[in-house]
Subunit: 238 residues, 4 copies
């Protein structure tokens, strides 16, 4: 399976506190544990030519991970549309944390998914599994504790997910649909809420396991392409 | 309840066969039976200034009906975005027949919903209710027979509907998710497949009843607007 | 609309602390605010002949509320089956708090719905609305605060609800799908988690409003009964 | 993966026309192609001691296939309950054709799932995929044609499936949700409508492939068992 990790890669360059946690960028941290898990991984960032998402790269990507925060608007619509068409054709997509407000996620949701509650108070988060036995939760028990995270709270403006995997509890009083699967076209999308840049969430082994499990789950490439458009009566065919 | 019927209103002007069925346009036919049902109805068409969908009209619309076919691209993005924001805020939307390929429907689905199978062979369609007791199917029995319709066939590229109301059977061999409810933001959307311009579908009493029931069901206006954005810890509030 | 409130009515007779909160029983407290809301309300309890749920009472009930806790097994299977058949035929059912472990709820779920986490430590609960604009949440804002409740925690062994309305946050660290709608047959079921006998939850105005809204939402009686069994080819009929 | 095929095995003994199609019983036909696909397969039938479903057999079964028709009532409740508990714990279940009216399927649905329309007129059935890219539909294109089948028609009294995979079209005018996935507890259930005893459906390669794919999809064994019951506050744990 070929994975591309896309990262805005801005905080890590300009904020020393973030740099201390992710010296090579969030994308390299994720790339490392996905590589160790046996996947073939490349990375791409906002400031690469064409955001690193050329036709060749996208055509050669089975699952795309997406982390962005401050500069969603700098991703050209043309690239968003190319990613969208690849999802329709079966490319998996894992949207991370503040990627909920990215152009590609909002486009795939069809809603104002940038809307939710948030707060940076280093709340404890407990992710409760709603899906025992699901491929994404396997081997992870009934909960994952994240000592400190940015708080995201409901209501989150998304369509009802096709599968609700995790609900997040925050010590400040909020809850959030923190792990959600959406089927769109032939593509599968997994949204995973934890992953703020100022806390070492992607260094937590259980979080890494969720993201490894997710790659396998949203992988849906090379599946049958169906015919669309004008069609002769099916009842007369064999 | 205030309803606005939007119609592309093109076939009815230029095609005598269509004009014979809907001399004043499809929108006027629908407006008539919705008015008789007690709703306050206005109409709007593509060639009206601002497509007839000014800020004032949209703000004053509880439920919008949408019929379009050949000229989806002539609806400016700015107007599509205004309709979209009204749906997020609770305006109901009833999308009719080839409106599945409209900009607004595709935007709200987040998928390439213009893709399906189709054929104009005047197939018989039988709409089978999957939702006994649902407000949209009330008083309509377990099926609705449409003597002749354009055939739409699966696969139809939409997200799984929040509620599947009708499955259409076509004599040529196809099936279609012909009645679907989608919740998006605070808005409710009902997609209803029958309604080709060359057959008198909107003159059928059962079809009219579906569309009357639908208005009541997707009506969701004047509901609470929730707070979004930065939020103080809820646990410390009363 | 005719409502029957069924209560086990055991704690309130034998536990002074509970009696102090609900001197006439939980059923009478609920009956009072539903009556004030304009519904026609009767009550029934476990120790009544036939549990108070005779054929006549059930046939004359549009929506049944169910509160039980310690003596689920004392409800005869025959009565459970009668309630079940009425739900199949469109009677609404509102299952309250520990009613999750009742025979009727487990039967309708098809799962071991008596399984969840629980704790009696008077946690604060915050109910977060996941369904803005939904008939059950109308007029209630984005959250309901319950100062003290029994804690229920995920994982709760239920099928994915047809509509997830509220997620509960508990100060001890748990989350729960506290408001869920299930469609079964022609019936609608609303499960609502708060309502422990040792705290005055049913005296809270927002909780009362949820239960009033729920009555209207699950009301589905007098809807069409469909034909089942052997059927002539539909295509040959008009 | 260890599969057990359970068959009522009655028609094949007493009806020469059925015997001609399935000389060793439907279970042996299914066992053969599942064995060829690499699974470890055993069979069990109604007239075996304990219906062939002893504790040992069930504990050693990852996925259970179920075909029954005339003698659902002869399966003792005790065995139904044992199968049910195994599904709660993660055993996969594939319910075939008239197995929709079996005790175990109705129990897992929580509805009167024995209710649907039916007719034995050797209609053509076309199964249309609603789930491109889904593991159950892989390699099968957008449709499967079954020259002759018993007709099943909506309305079928089941809860909305967690995943709708196939809709069946019948030449007589009916439609049916012919391929449905339900999650119950840790178990996954796949209901597949084709498979009448008087037609050679299980000899069709595409049908065999659906049933092979299904085994892989509903396999969910050896997954984490979560804790239930009294629980200390999660927020105080690490």
């Amino acid at each position: 399976m070929k994975i591309t990790i896309w990262n805005e890669f801005d905080h890590e360059k300009h904020d020393d506190a973030v740099k201390a946690i992710y010296p090579d960028g969030i994308h390299m941290c994720i790339a490392r544990f996905l590589t160790e898990a046996g996947f073939e991984v490349r990375t791409a960032t906002l400031d690469d030519p064409e955001c690193g998402l050329t036709d060749e790269v996208l055509a050669d990507t089975d699952v795309l991970y997406w982390w962005g925060h401050l500069r969603h608007d700098n991703v050209p619509d043309e690239i968003v549309n190319k990613v969208y068409r690849r999802v329709m054709d079966g490319m998996g997509l894992v949207v991370l944390h503040s990627g909920h407000a990215s152009k590609i996620f909002c486009k795939l949701m069809g809603t104002a998914a940038d809307n939710l509650k948030w707060r940076e108070t280093n709340d404890k988060e407990i992710l409760w599994s709603i899906a025992p036995g699901h491929p994404i939760t396997r081997g992870l028990g009934d909960r994952i504790v994240i000592p400190h995270e940015e708080t995201y709270g409901e209501h989150f403006i998304i369509p009802a997910p096709d599968e609700l995997i995790y609900i997040g509890w925050f010590s400040g009083g909020e809850v959030f649909r923190s792990g959600c699967v959406f089927n769109r076209g032939r593509g599968k999308i997994f949204y995973f809420q934890p992953g703020h840049e100022t806390v070492p969430t992607y260094h937590i082994p259980e979080v890494q396991k969720v993201l490894i499990n997710a790659a396998n789950y949203v992988y849906n490439n090379d599946t049958d392409k169906y015919p669309y458009g004008w069609a002769a009566p099916a009842a007369q065919q064999n």
